[in-house]
């Protein structure tokens, strides 16, 4: 969407909010001052000011009609510190929503996010859904996909083919089987023109047409299987001189099994498989995501959750990942969380180990293979006392092979963030963060962040959101 169009849309929607009987929203202003020190380079001072603004206006002449806006803008007083330049912003969503009193029917128009089976997108367009008789439900959307500009103008070899991303359409048909589950089929198509119809066919076909199936089965209250499978159904062609399509139709399988052993003990298992050519079909960054199209990723994992939904939760987790062009890696560890809702003090700890195959880097300065294993640790505490809050959050990584070129000579990285806040009134909160970090990019990075949030609400009913 052009910036001018966004401004007009925003102004129209905001003025429409004047008709609302219930209006709520928030404004968060963040001033972030930081200094980055890199050996051999002068230190860099950054000072971006960011404003986040959200508005929800309901009962716009009718109880069913509402308006929802959210966006942000940034201006750097010291900059340009960001890849956006000295200033920038985005309208994350801005849509009118009409919710019918029957059948969970809903209609949206504007910019919004959709999550309908195969379609997980940000769209400028329209969408609708409704429940049907017999447990069926249907949803669909159509519009223009939201894309973001890059620093450099798009070029055919590195970025995107706009003629294949001029529209996006998708939908899902679901069947609810009472409390025991739900199944669904979905479809997504991005772009209206197949590449071979173009006057100059591109060397690589990024057409994206995906079909999906999803399910949730819960034969008993203690057992639940949920997940989805996505298929690449586009007729991908091999351009002269282009890569040979690998032929995999399954883009993704992602399933999780959850079993509640006791009310406070839950066991989960997960299986994931992704074939990269089919999964990355349609990416607008092919140079990053389509480098080895015949590659495949698989993962199995699980967790044991002790004290689930109690004041003391312990999560033991394990995940084994396998990538054909790289090798195997395992991540395992535990998290402890003490966070009773009524408690003034909440805290948590986490320790994880990643055992990964060595990485082949023929351009490495020391040798050809480098270690990729590491240990991770995190500890945090948060205190709420009346209108005052304070928190401390520390994270560290220790890498087994400090000579890995990705680390720039640092085998240990860390970051500590301390925050204090006060809530002078019910609607206003102020907080400040001080953070210090040592990482592979900067020898050290210190930052101060000041945060002001003002919430306003004229809503006359309903719970807090």
């Amino acid at each position: 969407m052009r910036q001018r169009t966004s401004v007009v849309l925003l102004a129209t929607f905001v003025s429409a909010g004047a008709w609302a009987q219930d209006v709520s929203g928030f404004s968060t202003t963040i001033a972030h001052f930081s200094q980055q020190n890199t050996p051999g380079f002068p230190s860099v001072d950054l000072a971006p000011f960011t404003e986040f603004l959200g508005v929800d206006a309901t009962r716009l002449g009718s109880d069913a009609l509402s308006l929802h806006l959210y966006g942000w803008g940034v201006n750097d007083l010291g900059g340009p510190s960001t890849i956006l330049g000295k200033s920038g912003g985005d309208l994350s969503y801005a849509y009118l929503d009409y919710r019918f009193s029957q059948a969970n029917a809903e209609f949206k128009a504007g910019r919004f996010s959709v999550n309908q089976g195969a379609g997980v997108e940000q769209v400028d367009g329209i969408s609708g859904r409704t429940d049907l008789r017999g447990g069926f439900n249907v949803s669909a959307f159509v519009g223009a996909p939201v894309h973001y500009k890059t620093q450099e103008p798009p070029s055919p070899s590195t970025y995107t083919y706009h003629y294949q991303t001029d529209m996006i359409i998708g939908g899902r048909l679901g069947l609810r089987l009472g409390p025991v589950g739900e199944v669904g089929v979905s479809y997504l198509q991005d772009g209206s023109s197949p590449p071979w119809d173009l006057a100059t066919p591109p060397p690589v076909d990024y057409t994206r047409k995906q079909a999906g199936t999803d399910l949730r089965l819960a034969p008993t209250a203690k057992l639940e299987l949920t997940g989805h499978t996505l298929f690449n159904v586009a007729n991908q062609y091999q351009a002269p001189g282009g890569p040979v399509p690998d032929g995999h139709r399954v883009a993704e399988q992602d399933y999780t099994l959850r079993y509640t052993l006791l009310p406070t003990i839950t066991v989960t298992g997960n299986y994931t498989e992704r074939n990269l050519e089919a999964y990355f079909a349609g990416t607008n960054m092919p140079n990053l995501f389509r480098t080895d199209v015949s590659d495949r990723h698989q993962a199995v994992g699980g967790s044991v959750i002790l004290g689930s939904a109690t004041a003391t939760e312990v999560v033991l987790d394990f995940r084994h990942m396998s990538r054909e062009t790289y090798g195997n890696s395992d991540r395992y560890g535990a998290d402890l969380r003490m966070a009773a809702a009524e408690s003034k003090v909440k805290y948590g700890f986490g320790l994880h180990k990643v055992s990964a195959a060595d990485l082949f880097m023929p351009g490495g300065s020391v040798r050809a293979f480098y270690g990729m294993s590491r240990e991770e640790g995190r500890a945090w505490v948060m205190v709420e006392a009346g209108k005052y809050t304070a928190s401390l959050d520390g994270i560290s990584y220790h890498f087994d092979d400090g000579t890995n070129p990705n680390l720039n000579g640092k085998s240990s990285l860390c970051q500590v963030v301390g925050s204090v806040g006060v809530k002078p009134t019910e609607n206003l909160s102020l907080s400040g963060d001080l953070s210090y970090g040592a990482n592979a990019y900067y020898q050290n990075e210190t930052s101060v962040l000041l945060r002001t949030t003002y919430r306003f609400s004229a809503a006359s009913k309903g719970g807090s959101k």
Partner: protein
Amino acid sequence: MIRKAVLFLLAVTLGLGLSLACNPIAPAASFAPTHPQELGPGRPLCTTCHADETLGGAHKPYSAFDHTPAFVKDHRFLAGRDSNVCAACHAQAFCADCHSGKVFMTPDVKLGNRPDRDMPHRADYLTVHRFDGQADPTSCFKCHGRANNEQCIVCHR
């Protein structure tokens, strides 16, 4: 493009016509747009009040929506199928804290005063992503493969 749009509108019109003729719309009332009572602090457990009940609009037991660690990790599935249930308590802006597409500030910086919330990419993930990306290049794609490219393309040209 125009032909497809016309065909789509015709299909929608036909669908609406059939809907009116056969009335396949479920007669049940819609799910409540807001929770009738304000909920307390912390992650809510629906079963505290709705022990063995089924959530009418979603045809699922309330226990499926208890905000346990397993729910938080896999909330994407229920959020896709039953977004109206989420909307009873969460404004869309809550989702946008992490899922807003184009961003300037990572969620962990924006909410540095809330270490209790699960946030992606805490601390120096810029370094760590070089390691995680080797083991699993697919994990980046859902959020960054078709969005937020201004960030990625600085290095991944």
